[in-house]
Symmetry: C2
Subunit: 155 residues, 2 copies
């Protein structure tokens, strides 16, 4: 509980710091957070997978993201993983930690992308380190639920 | 180990993000990190002490910082606490986590303040929330050891 609080609070500070920057557009700020997440994910997965074996295939890597990685970072697993078996994976988190403290009213929905950008980058960075180039987007369905969509970029 | 990595990496990204900013001086960047630490510490201690009893006195609060708080955030206790009993407290950390990955060469010493600023703010924020106004500075003795000096501001 306490350790989660530290990470949550540092993340919140990073978000508010980036958005305080002068003359920065919403898109630029989101891009910066995504970049911070990417760098974090890239290095994190390097440390985490150092001693684990190789992955069988792409789906195996996605399962690793949904289970081990999510538990490490967010203290819970992804609730549901779907794929079209053609390089698109959708990860449903029914209670995403960075959204769980937001009031559920619709007026806050507009701010949700700020709290998803770091994680989109985190996932992209992890996958990049594991040899998968992809685009990661996120969408809030109903607070605090959201889904992350991974679109693998082939050769 | 894994959770520590997440926090370490996010902190590192925050440092490098702040220092990448255009037209920002070293002092300004350090001040911004200190501010992020302050906000984090202020809120963190609120959550952590919600259920604990009141503190006996100032020294009791300092011991809390050295033990409980340090363990929560840095996974170890402060190694040594000294005070002149006139409002100055010096906390020695013989292996400070944010410095522990830096090479021990003297050429890196100049960058150490960047990795101490957040924590100075964190301590100041915690103490502010507990009713103590102070100035917190840090000094590297020999990597990765450092000391944090707290100067309580009276009246």
């Amino acid at each position: 509980m306490a350790e989660e609080a530290v990470f949550d609070l540092v993340h919140m500070e990073a978000v508010s710091y980036v958005f305080q920057g002068e003359k920065i557009s919403e898109d630029e700020a989101v891009a910066k957070l995504e970049h911070m997440g990417f760098a974090t994910g890239y290095r994190l997965v390097e440390r985490l997978t150092r001693e684990s074996g190789r992955f069988k295939d792409e789906l195996d890597i996605m399962k690793y993201i949904c289970k081990d990685l999510w538990v490490t970072v967010y203290k819970k697993q992804i609730d549901n993983l779907r794929t079209n078996h053609q390089g698109v994976y959708v990860l449903h988190d029914n209670r995403f930690r960075f959204l769980s403290r937001m009031a559920a009213g619709k007026q806050y929905l507009q701010y949700a992308p700020r709290y998803l950008a770091f994680t989109c980058g985190l996932v992209r960075g992890c996958l990049a380190n594991l040899g998968i180039t992809c685009v990661v987007t996120a969408e809030v369905t109903q607070l605090p639920a959201c889904k992350f969509q991974i679109q693998v970029q082939r050769g």
